[in-house]
Amino acid sequence: MKKLINAIDAVITEQMEGMALAHADLLRVNLEPKFIVRADAPVADKVALVSGGGSGHEPLHGGFVGMGMLAGACPGEIFTSPTPDQMYACGLAVNSGAGVLLIVKNYTGDVLSFETAAELLHGDGVPVRTVLVDDDVAVKDSLYTAGRRGVGGTVIVEKIAGAAAEAGYDLAQVAELAQRVSISSRSMGMALTSCTTPAAGKPTFELGDDEIEIGIGIHGEPGQRRMPITDADAITTLLAEEILDDGAYTRTVRSFDPDAGDWVEQTLTSAPFQPGDRVIALVNSMGGTPASELYTVYRKLAHICEARNITIARRLIGAYITSLEMQGCSITLTRADDEMLRLWDAPVHTPALRWGV
């Protein structure tokens, strides 16, 4: 295992300390329990977005803490959900009274932890709502699985909902919008290589020299299937078609209703992409793939979208939601309306995403 780390137990702590030293103008770091908050949190009268998840996906989520995006982020151990005490303490630290929206990627561990945290925050009188991100089309059905995983769509949800919070939307409005962005997002990823968690010390899965893994998540877990390596255009076509040809997807989502003080279930359907749609596109590196290769992918994606009369209205190309040093990429498309595009363009100032300021 070759990494720029020190003691394995200290990896997350030291990365957080590094962030605190580098970005004192943007964020503050708390180590026990671990969370990261905006330097100016709580921000009066603004809804606070809190997300979190296993570490190893940087810049997600800590790199998105700052003006116009997250108020707080809770990093777990590498590839392991954070714990409810982190989310609870983070929620308390960022709540201005306008309430907290918990952005939850759909993994059993994350869901269970955020559910507990939501109940704890509610118990303390914090107005709290939750939104689930489940955009990974590699998972086909929601009936016989834990449902689609939350992957690249999370970045889009955090940016747009963050801008809405900054613009003064109230908690119910931010939650409704976030849910809308979430179900408008679809992603698909692939790996050229595996990755190695410091604790395991060896690659999570083995890939042959001429094999690639299609339909991976973001935790070094094996994907949907394995195939011989092919070229960038073929890989891009495969990922894009999985997304663009994906039919309507229906799932039952549990979210916390602060008025009822309880969980409510909603059945939500994502409509398939259609000619005429405008989308935000994310071409994302899994960590070890350099930006140069992503442009080759983007080139093909742009051609495919054009041929289907889908307009890429905005795009983000880089490493935004990663699996440590894994080589590979994912594509996310989010169907966007005017409101979403306006909020996408709104100023954001975080370590990993910055514009308009």
Binding site: E77, T80, P84, T108, G109, L112, T116, A146, A200
Partner: protein, 214 residues
Amino acid sequence: MITATIVEAWLQRTAAVLDENKSYLTDLDAAIGDADHGVNIARGFGAVVQKLAAQPGQSLGALFKTAGMTLMSTVGGASGMLYGNFFLKAAGVAGDRHALTDAELLAVLEAGRDGIIQRGRAEPGDKTMIDAWTPALAALRASLEAGQPPAAALDACVAAAEEGMRATIPLQARKGRASYLGERSIGHQDPGATSTYLILRALAETLATASDEM
């Protein structure tokens, strides 16, 4: 009577056994999950043992609550939340008792198991830890109700847990991370069912040692 001392000994033995089986559990999780089950659960029970050592003389309710809260805040991931819930619900039933009869032990374990189901909403056959818990506690209940001595009842419980664990191999996962693999999850033993088996085995062994010593 199962005293608080015995329960602490159980948790200590569990911590030791999980630590020994850390790589084994993590390897199982690497096959159909994300390769962290062993490391996380061993860290969690290690922390429980440390916490309990610092807070001696608690009631069983308090002791289980400490265990549950500690697991929730140190394990991370699905199993941390589920085992955490197990002990929180167990705590509710144990209350301020300092010892449990065999029947009470059964009630405590069943409440814990129900807590796992309540949070995780898994059903038998979903290829989760529930596939070890459910047959194990059914066997325990049946043996006790048949009037078998506690040692034999617990042996039956462990045997059923082991069988339930092995029976996860041919199953396709429908809950948790392994469900993403679809048919590729078939042929692998569920890591959570395996840790459940180890936890119950540690309980049986602890009780056996304790009664030897009496």
